[in-house]
């Protein structure tokens, strides 16, 4: 169908945006706390979508449901047309507290996803070495996590997620345990990685600036119960100097607009 359209030299219809992850009617209750109520969302392929909201809005819960780490009370998750309820090779997770094995070197940590898939040592180490270099940790292959700074540890977590070659990367507040300077550098690197890796990123954050800085699309969640309150597509030009984005007018306006909307939830 689409082939036919392309052959005719016509543009595909913009309404039929290709979404890789579809969330339908997801609800989740913990005891008597309603964490999520009837979430419907589409995540477009190849884009970086942020889930943004105040604490308690269920954004991490939603991400872990997409990852298959938590089961939803109701609703379905579809990845690439297939309904999923458990973790799968097409999704990779980056953890807030890095979740590195302290007894293993950077090399083994990065290759761990491949190790679990039964890939031979030589092959997985080749691949891991490539992604270690990709995240800027070349030369640290034989270090242990406790010998690295917080920012470097999260780079290991990111390299591990990249090396399994999943289509969807799920990042749970990856920079919240990283100091401010490293966070800036890391955000710039993520913008660069996004253009080179051709993957779909789903990014959970509570920082408005961070969301506007890096996202193609921002999903605003409101708390208690967690619901989608708005979807924003910030029109920020990310080509060129990343430093410039912080002074971009669209960037500043969008940050302000989101803040005005979220203010009411802050006690």
């Amino acid at each position: 169908m689409r082939d036919a359209v392309l052959r005719n030299g016509l543009k595909p219809i913009p309404a039929a945006v290709d979404s890789i992850v579809e969330v339908r009617g997801i609800s989740k209750t913990y005891g008597d706390v309603e964490a999520l109520r009837g979430i419907d969302l589409d995540f477009p392929r190849g884009k970086l979508t942020s889930l943004l909201g105040p604490s308690g809005c269920g954004k991490t819960t939603l991400l872990k449901i997409i990852a298959g780490l938590i089961s939803a009370d109701a609703g379905t998750i579809t990845v690439d047309g297939k309904q999923v309820s458990a973790p799968g090779p097409e999704r990779a997770f980056v953890f807030q507290d890095f979740a590195l094995m302290p007894w293993a070197t950077v090399m083994r940590n990065v290759a761990f996803g491949l190790e679990l898939r039964g890939i031979g040592k030589a092959e997985r180490e080749d691949k891991a070495r490539h992604y270690i270099a990709e995240v800027g940790l070349a030369g640290f292959e034989n270090k242990y996590p406790h010998e690295l700074s917080g920012g470097m540890r999260q780079r290991v977590g990111l390299a591990r997620a990249l090396s399994v070659d999943a289509d969807v990367l799920l990042l749970d507040e990856p920079f919240s345990a990283v100091d401010e300077q490293n966070r800036r550098k890391f955000q710039e690197d993520l913008i660069r990685l996004r253009t080179t890796q051709n993957k779909t990123f789903i990014f959970v954050t509570h920082s408005i600036e961070e969301a506007v800085y890096i996202s193609d699309r921002i999903v605003l969640l409101s708390p208690r119960p967690g619901r989608v309150s708005r979807i924003i597509e910030p029109e920020v030009d990310r080509s060129g100097d990343p430093e410039r984005i912080h002074r971009d007018k669209h960037y500043l306006d969008t940050v302000d607009e989101i803040w005005q909307g979220l203010k009411q939830y802050v006690d």
């Binding site: 090779p89 997770f93 953890f95 807030q96 094995m101 302290p102 996803g113 679990l116 242990y144």
Partner: protein, 251 residues
């Protein structure tokens, strides 16, 4: 330790006590206490006798068997309790009672169950050593960061792989600490077991020496036992130091 500004090695204090022992022994105050040099001489002679060598083999065999059993049962039990709330509720109370109870009182019961022989000694070692191994393993498993387990699951680890590659390793520092404390308790178990049974290994030797007031040999045997316990604890501590680098560095 420093005396008058000079660094004195740790073992020096031991030397002081040996001299004190020698002096008190030479004063001939008590039958109980022969001079230290006599004890050393007795130890030297003792280790050459077939009765000591036989007793040592018996004792070591019982100790090693009991410890292997305690470790083989204790670690899985601790992991089970750390992972399953039901198992923890069911067993927790008993493990805590046994780990703090005066177990020497149970050894006579063991004698009735296992007879006057090596089996009772093995059972005593097992019973003395296992509880602290269970408790420490459980604590180690409890302290594993949940995200480490989520990490393994999200990259497709099966249940078996999760235990073999994550849980066992993440709890290893505590497991080793449990084994070290278990070994020290196991030494107590083997000694108390043998003393109460009194016809096996060191127990028989102790019985003979104390009945016949052969105090030099009695003390020599005691010192050998103490040294044995210390050496074992030291060896395990070295192994622990090797995994320490990540015990302290865990998130």
């Amino acid at each position: 330790m420093k005396i008058f500004g000079y660094r004195v090695p740790m073992m020096a204090s031991l030397l002081v006590w040996c001299i004190v022992w020698e002096i008190v022994g030479r004063l001939d105050l008590m039958l109980m206490l022969p001079p230290f040099s006599d004890v050393l001489a007795a130890a030297f002679e003792l280790v050459q006798t077939p009765s000591w060598q036989g007793a040592t083999v018996t004792t070591l065999r019982a100790f090693v068997t009991g410890m292997v059993l305690a470790i083989a049962v204790g670690i899985p039990l601790g992991i089970l309790m750390g992972r399953s709330k039901i198992a923890d509720d069911l067993l927790g109370m008993w493990v805590n009672i046994f780990s703090s109870a005066p177990l020497s009182a149970i050894v006579p019961v063991l004698m009735i169950l296992f007879g006057f022989g090596e089996k009772t000694i093995v059972a005593a070692v097992f019973l003395f050593a296992i509880w602290i191994i269970v408790l420490d393993t459980r604590a180690g498993v409890r302290h594993i960061s949940p995200s480490l387990i989520e990490m393994a699951r999200s990259y497709g680890a099966s249940r078996r792989v999760l235990y073999a590659k994550i849980i066992l390793w993440a709890a290893l520092p505590e497991i080793l600490a449990g084994i070290r404390l278990g070994l020290i308790r196991g030494v107590k178990g083997v000694v108390i077991g043998q003393l109460l049974v009194a016809i096996v290994g060191y127990g028989a030797l102790f019985e003979t020496f104390s009945r016949n007031f052969r105090m030099a040999e009695f003390w020599a045997l005691t010192i050998i036992l103490f040294a044995f316990a210390l050496v074992i604890a030291e060896l395990i501590e070295r192994a622990e130091a090797k995994v320490e680098y990540y015990a302290g560095a865990r998130q």
